[in-house]
């Protein structure tokens, strides 16, 4: 018997539907609506697609475990197609038409700033689960990704201990890159190191020949990269193609987030020192069961990256907040958020900080080895100290802005 593709798809769909069925009955009541807007197509879908998957996974798991407040969680997912206008549009739709109870959305900082005001104005709870430049201070918003102070200091510390004092920084030319470069310079200075030079590159620059020559002219002890996105991948390739990877060590605050280590061959990527909140090599039960569940639902787990895990944990953290709040009442939910909820996720403990609505996270300094991120050092529960310098939502609950970090 031959199986036509249509039959196969129908069967696959049915299996997925059964998998998604609740295992326990839900109490009476309308479902709780969870909105999500991510780039499932277009330039940024390398980040967006795995996030969309873990979003589904997290919601299914919550429902399988009885939902939230005894009610089913209904996922309303939109594809913003890497277009800022669509973020705004779908945010409005979630607020007005769908009347979402919580929204987890946004990849780039630009997309976050495009939609955050909409949610704040309409008192729709908003989670932003992506690593970013820090500084958002808004009682309606919860940020669960890492900020520069959390991740950069460990990287600088290990890098300087290993290789020496003189550092060359290459960074993406937008908010994240600019602010990260400032923090890197700050930590390097603290440890009596020097920054040879800092170069910024717009996100579409793909030729780094002149830069690689410039770096050789400066002869730094090592290079730190905060490059972002598909075009910037070329830097690592051209770096390796010229043989520089054997001569000057490379460290990065962003490498691996877009699965760069899978795109580079072991010969090219090995030895790059990176920092982040997640590696698939984390040997905890939470991570193992998460990867197993992901594999069962979507097949290949290779594409799971930090952002996808961060999103998964963000949703689980929200569910925990709801459990503590016991109702959808806004005051109760805010109180729960500010009561220090924590979960044990695939990347370790995620503990919400009441003052900043940011999360304390475990930070891993890792080395790329054979297309895997091998953990070298673990820094447990680093606090979002950069945002905390400016932001105290307990004292100033009406605050609503993104502080620019100035060191």
């Amino acid at each position: 018997m031959t199986v036509s593709r249509r039959d196969f798809l129908a069967a696959a769909g049915a299996t997925a539907a059964i998998g998604a069925l609740p295992t326990r009955g839900f109490a009476q009541g309308k479902p709780i609506k969870l909105g999500a807007i991510f780039d499932n197509s277009g330039n940024l879908d390398i980040y967006g697609k795995p996030i969309v998957m873990t979003t589904q996974l997290a919601v299914d798991e919550i429902n399988a475990a009885g939902g939230v407040l005894g009610r089913k969680v209904q996922l309303i997912q939109y594809d913003s197609q890497s277009d800022i206008a669509l973020y705004t549009k779908f945010a409005q739709q979630l607020v007005r038409q769908d009347k979402a109870d919580v929204v987890h959305a946004g990849i780039t900082s630009a997309s976050r700033e495009a939609i955050r005001p909409t949610f704040t104005r309409s008192n729709t709870l908003y989670f932003y689960n992506i690593l970013y430049e820090g500084g958002v201070c808004d009682r309606n918003t919860v940020c669960t990704g890492t900020t520069p102070a959390q991740a950069n200091e460990p990287l600088v510390e290990v890098g300087m201990k290993r290789w020496g004092n003189k550092v060359y920084i290459v960074a993406a030319d937008y908010n994240y890159g600019q602010i990260t470069a400032k923090w890197l310079a700050h930590y390097i200075g603290q440890r009596k190191g020097t920054v040879a030079k800092t170069d910024f590159f717009p996100l579409d620059v793909a030729d780094f020949g002149s830069t690689i020559a410039k770096i050789q002219q400066e002869k730094p002890n090592f290079v730190i990269s905060a490059l972002v996105g598909g075009a910037h991948m070329s830097f690592y390739r051209q770096w390796a193609a010229s043989g520089m990877n054997k001569r000057i060590p490379l460290a990065s605050t962003t490498f691996g987030v877009g699965n760069e280590h899978l795109a580079l061959s072991p010969a090219e990527g090995d030895g790059i020192l990176i920092v982040g909140n997640y590696s698939q090599e984390i040997q905890t039960p939470a991570n193992k069961s998460f990867l197993a569940a992901f594999g069962k639902r979507f097949g290949d787990t290779k594409i799971v990256h930090e952002l996808a895990v961060s999103q998964y944990q963000g949703i689980k953290l929200w569910a925990e907040c709801m459990r503590k709040a016991g109702s959808l009442d806004r005051a109760a939910v805010l109180k729960a958020i500010e009561s220090g909820p924590k979960i044990d996720g695939p990347s370790g403990v995620v503990a919400l900080d009441a003052k900043t609505h940011h999360a304390a996270l475990d930070i891993y300094v890792m080395e790329v080895q054979g297309q895997k991120l091998t953990i070298k050092e673990t820094y447990k529960q680093r606090a979002p100290s950069d945002t905390a310098q400016y932001c105290d939502l307990i004292k100033n609950p009406k605050e609503n802005k993104q502080f620019e970090v100035n060191i």
Binding site: D45, S210, A213, M233, R237, E260, L262, A263, L264, I303
Partner: protein, 288 residues
């Protein structure tokens, strides 16, 4: 002194890069007056083919120099038969249809290969130039481009096919006067153009992180190079590539790559303002 050598080599590499990604578009535009906005995706397909073949254990040179051009040529042939041939003489409609095609190809490749960047390592190690470490593979690209341009020139100048092709540049009636069916000539031209795009994609694959959306990065540059160069396929592409790259790289070394890029684009405007028919429309008479 070493540094000057580094700068010169970088400039040469950039010229080769630009000429390589423009060659396919230039042939199709020069002979058929068709602007193929899916050109970038053809280049991207060449890259994906190379990577897929080399991952499957094929020799990487064979994959990039033979398999990639053949596969993309087949795609080109299909596209010409299904879409382009209905639209000859309607330059704007062709652009629109090929833009649709480019979206379609991005969607298809995303479906097949997923969105993670893929790549193959450069098969040639770096080398030492004075105290500088340089990419050896860049030299290979320069060499390939030189060979390609010489090959194109020889074919256009000295062969029967070249004569027909030069006839096609004059217009379809000239082809007909030579005793050939313009439709067939166009079909072959488009296929050859696609093969060149595939070759470019294959050869460049080891130096870039390839994504389904990578084509977009090539098309604007190739488009500007070809139009600024004017109608003559080889002389035009080469002269505008040389001018653009020298300016871009000199400014990049002196400041940043962004300012280099902006300087290059500003130069394109000035050149087109001074020479509205492209560089070769003014300085070269012959068809090659």
């Amino acid at each position: 002194m070493d540094y000057a050598g580094v700068v010169v080599l970088e400039i040469l590499y950039m010229i080769a890069f630009l000429a390589l990604i423009s060659a396919g578009l230039a042939i199709v535009f020069g002979m058929m007056r068709v602007i193929n906005l899916a050109h970038g995706e053809f280049v991207m397909l060449g890259g994906y083919t190379t990577i897929a073949c080399s991952k499957a254990g094929m020799d990487v040179y064979f994959a990039m120099l033979v398999v990639a051009p053949v596969v993309v040529a087949a795609v080109g042939l299909l596209v010409e038969r299904l879409i382009i041939r209905w639209l000859y003489g309607r330059i704007i409609d062709t652009m629109l249809a090929t833009w649709g095609l480019s979206l379609l190809l991005v969607g298809l490749v995303t479906l097949i290969f997923g969105t993670s960047a893929v790549s193959v390592p450069a098969p040639i190690p770096g080398y030492q130039l004075g105290s500088y470490q340089m990419g050896g593979y860049n030299l290979f690209i320069i060499g390939i481009t030189v060979l390609l341009l010489i090959g194109m020139w020889v074919v256009l100048r000295f062969t029967r096919a070249g004569l027909i092709a030069r006839g096609a540049m004059q217009g379809p009636d000239v082809v007909a006067a030579l005793g050939y069916d313009p439709g067939k000539v166009y079909m072959v031209t488009f296929t050859v153009g696609a093969a060149l795009s595939g070759l470019a994609g294959g050869v460049l694959a080891p130096l870039t992180g390839l994504l389904p959306s990578s084509g977009g990065a090539y098309i604007a540059k190739a488009f500007i190079t070809v139009i600024t160069g004017g109608a003559a396929v080889i002389a035009g592409t080469l002269s505008s590539a040389v001018i653009f790259c020298v300016i871009n790289q000199l400014v990049s070394f002196a400041s940043t790559p962004v300012i280099g890029e902006i300087a290059m684009l500003a130069l394109a405007i000035i050149l087109l303002r001074l020479m509205p028919q492209g560089i070769t429309g003014r300085f070269f008479r012959s068809g090659t």
